[in-house]
């Protein structure tokens, strides 16, 4: 097959809300080679966002690292901090009280809701459905308010500490949170109906980017991508960390294996998260103080290794800590779900048209909020031109 077009999709970490500034050259994220309209080969490049966090963690104390690890990703910062804190707690054999565990689950589930809302809004925007994008972003502001009531900040919660959480809630906050959750549930059900029935969405998403179950495990894809292809992996069910052994919930799995299934998995998980938040608020135990005494925190860290995993909105997130008994860790290894999902999934674009590439990429929920302009090179004619990802998704380059 002869290559007639090369499409370079760069990463400049910008969230799309309309026209953006044009792409500059390297570094690229996806380089797509096409014959006519059909994709024949994909190269994936990285390195743009590398901040050297693992080396930084080796130079700062265990407690300072909670803040560094929370800033690996702003959209899912609570789960990063939670996984690091639990790895440290396993190392030191600390078990926080149940009230703290329930509050941790509440913070993480609120974050799951806001993350799923953002990616569905971006998917609507890529398909050209701008009105839906605006509506979802407006409703997302309610969840940001809920996060602010619980943790004190809209985005970066900094809520986890070794032995518990940083703030407790009282009955006034509990009522306000319940109110917001009940309102947002009606909004989500409306959006699910739109995603199931609207032609713009179903015709562009169904049967696009099909991944078979055996490919999921061989290529190591995680999270909603795996659950959209009938592989039931969810760390909340597997490890039952924090309070997930007591809170009832379902793991959503779909059999269609395409991009539509992945987005529907995320919507249905949002409903499950809403039910979990309601259960936590109504059944909050009072067995001990949720906020540990700062002056009594342990100052000695025993030698040993620990491995903690958590279910981030995008998949399984893992932290490995190796300590040799000093005040700073010897090694911290962070593996984010997007690392596996984006780098290992180059095979899944082949055979689809160029217009499907942004749709498939968005259905993987890349945590580097990329989506910028793409540069299309027509190999036969020797021309290069810059198009937005939205135009690419509409076809006709």
């Amino acid at each position: 097959m002869a290559v007639t077009k090369v499409v370079e999709i760069p990463v400049t970490l910008e969230i799309p809300i309309g026209p953006q500034h044009p792409a500059l050259h390297e570094p690229l994220m996806l380089k797509v080679y096409a014959d006519g309209e059909e994709v024949v080969k994909v190269d994936i490049n990285t390195g743009y966002n590398h901040r050297g966090i693992e080396k930084l963690c080796e130079r700062n104390s265990f407690y300072r690292n909670i803040f560094i690890c929370g800033r690996v990703c702003g959209i899912c910062n609570t789960v990063h901090a939670n996984c690091y804190v639990r790895a440290v707690e396993y190392l030191m054999d600390i078990d926080p009280p149940k009230r703290a565990k329930y509050l941790r689950v509440l913070a993480m589930e609120l974050e799951r809701i806001h993350s799923h809302l953002i990616i569905n809004a971006i998917m609507a925007e890529i398909l050209g459905f701008d009105t839906l994008f605006m509506y979802i972003m407006r409703d997302r502001e309610k969840i940001m308010k809920a996060k602010e009531i619980l943790t004190g900040n809209r985005v970066l919660a900094d809520y986890m500490m070794v032995g518990g959480v940083r703030r407790d809630i009282d009955s006034v906050k509990k009522d306000r949170l319940l109110n917001i959750i009940n309102i947002i549930e009606g909004d989500i059900k409306r959006y699910i109906k739109i995603f199931e029935t609207d032609d713009t969405i179903t015709k562009r998403l169904m049967s696009v980017g099909v991944i078979k179950p055996s490919q999921i495990t061989k290529y190591g894809l995680l999270g909603p991508i795996a659950r959209g292809s009938n592989i039931k992996i969810d760390v909340r069910m597997g490890d039952k960390y924090d309070a997930y052994d007591e809170i009832p919930f379902n793991v959503i799995v779909r059999k269609e294996m395409d991009s539509w299934a992945r987005m529907m998995v995320r919507w249905e998980e949002t409903i499950e998260s809403i039910n979990m938040c309601r259960y936590v608020l109504e059944h909050l135990p009072s067995d001990g103080p949720a906020v540990p005494d700062e002056r009594r925190l342990p100052r000695r860290f025993p030698a040993g290794e620990s491995f903690a995993r958590v279910e981030a909105p995008r998949g399984e997130l893992t932290y490995y800590i190796n300590s040799v008994g000093r005040q700073v860790p010897y090694r911290v290894k962070i593996r984010t779900p997007s690392f596996n999902n984006i780098i290992n999934s180059g095979f899944s674009y082949i055979g689809y048209s160029i217009a499907d590439v942004p749709v498939i990429l968005t259905s993987y929920d890349p945590c580097i909020a990329c989506m910028e302009r793409a540069v299309v090179t027509n190999v036969k004619r020797g021309t290069r031109k810059s198009v937005s990802l939205k135009q690419l998704a509409k076809g006709g380059v």
Binding site: I233, G238, N322, I343
Partner: protein
């Protein structure tokens, strides 16, 4: 400790069994047997029986070795098993498994760029995968304990 029942077929390759917190089983294997271990896992558990979660490399200059861990998680019972191997620090090389298990691509490329472990047979290894040119042009691997960055 004993090799767990689920992966008894790896018994001959395992030199030692211990655990890290919280109750994750570690199996120590020679570096020449890593490929065989994955072939046995694929043969006995099947394509959808497990997945490779993460590859972790750690530099131990005091022992003059680099440790390399492969974290394997089975499906659907979700057990975590760690295959650990030790490599000599001055020439760390190990056969790549990316052709039989493509999930290893991301982990192997990252470990090569940050620690300098050569995965023989992986055509996608390159410097600059993560690290910027002004560091890799000096031949520095940032995660080594003696790297001056």
């Amino acid at each position: 400790m004993e090799v767990p029942e689920k992966i008894k077929f790896l018994g001959d390759l395992v030199k030692e069994v211990h655990s890290i917190k919280p109750n994750r089983i570690v199996l120590e294997i020679d570096k020449e047997n890593i490929r065989k271990a994955f072939e046995l896992l694929l043969g006995n558990l099947g394509d959808t029986g497990f997945y490779l979660a993460v590859i972790v490399g750690t530099d131990h200059p005091d022992k003059n070795k680099i440790s390399l861990d492969y974290y394997v998680i089975t499906h659907p019972d979700k057990e975590v098993y760690i295959l650990r191997t030790w490599l000599p620090r001055d020439d760390p090389r190990v056969p790549s498994v990316v052709d039989i298990l493509p999930a290893a691509l991301s982990g192997e490329c990252e470990t090569y760029d940050l620690l300098g472990i050569l995965f023989e047979g992986n055509p996608y290894l390159k410097r600059g995968f993560f690290v910027s040119p002004d560091i890799y042009e000096k031949g520095i691997y940032p995660l080594r304990k003696d790297a001056k960055v």
